[in-house]
Symmetry: C2
Amino acid sequence: MRKFATESDLTHIPAMKHALNQKPEYEKELRKAGVRITRPRRIILDILSSTEDHPDAMKIFHRAIEIDDSISLSTVYRTMNLLEDMGAIHRHAFNGGPSRFEQAHGDHHDHLIDIDTGAVIEFKSDKIEKLQEEIAKSLGYDIVHHRLELYARKTEK
Amino acid sequence: MRKFATESDLTHIPAMKHALNQKPEYEKELRKAGVRITRPRRIILDILSSTEDHPDAMKIFHRAIEIDDSISLSTVYRTMNLLEDMGAIHRHAFNGGPSRFEQAHGDHHDHLIDIDTGAVIEFKSDKIEKLQEEIAKSLGYDIVHHRLELYARKTEK
DNA sequence: ATCGGTGCAAAGCTTTTGCAAAAGA
DNA sequence: TCTTTTGCAAAAGCTTTGCACCGAT
């Protein structure tokens, strides 16, 4: 996680291997919640914790069946719902397309989506967060969560 | 459109009857683009220009068949795609749900969604827009469009 | 041995599409 | 008249669900 040399408060979160290999930790938490650690779930958790992109269910499914070809797509969907409910992952609907997922690592961030490649860059701006709070407050609301997505194209050189 | 008495640059866009009754204007533009003004289209345009919410296709369809019960849902979808391509409406996918639409009136704005009622409040912050530009720039991108949604709950009194 | 989880197939929901008939220009 | 547009019904894409079997604890 590095700061950019601008006057802004932008934090770029570069190709972060999301807190890699916290598998045991995760399983502990899941067990505590009364969730069984099954083979499909372990595989899906592995995929999520080792990926750098924001795959959709189908993509996760394809990666999963390479490891165990008996896993079904329904299990992928069910597991994503379970993990989302537990707060272990976040769901996005970029462009209104199919849900894409990412492991929830501690700090919140927003997304810049490359409209040509679909690539996703994570970033964070405390200034924007603060402004959002101000806005909600002046409208008489408290923010529960928010979504900021920049759809962008690489600057022409 | 009124300014709030805060130090922020927030602009609230209150229950704006989106540039009401520009029907003739719209039709002119559509004709110019070689689009035929049909009965279903006129009805859908009417609905869009007179509504204050952000209806989805099904809601538009139901309002439409009250005026002309021969209109089909496919026509609603086709018309929404047409109008979106022409830039006459904007499409949103709040919460990843079905697309919801609003007539495009000149100025861009973002949305605060009341998570209890589904109500949508429009607002605009030049400061946030500017920060977004800075962020994209420092990541080597130009913003094509963006989406900022605040999911919020009314402040407890 | 329990009871939760899985795979499979079927269904659900939103959205798109093929086609013949209808209607703008 | 000549295309475009429509309605209908069917299909497509993503996601959920019912059910009987399987497997983690």
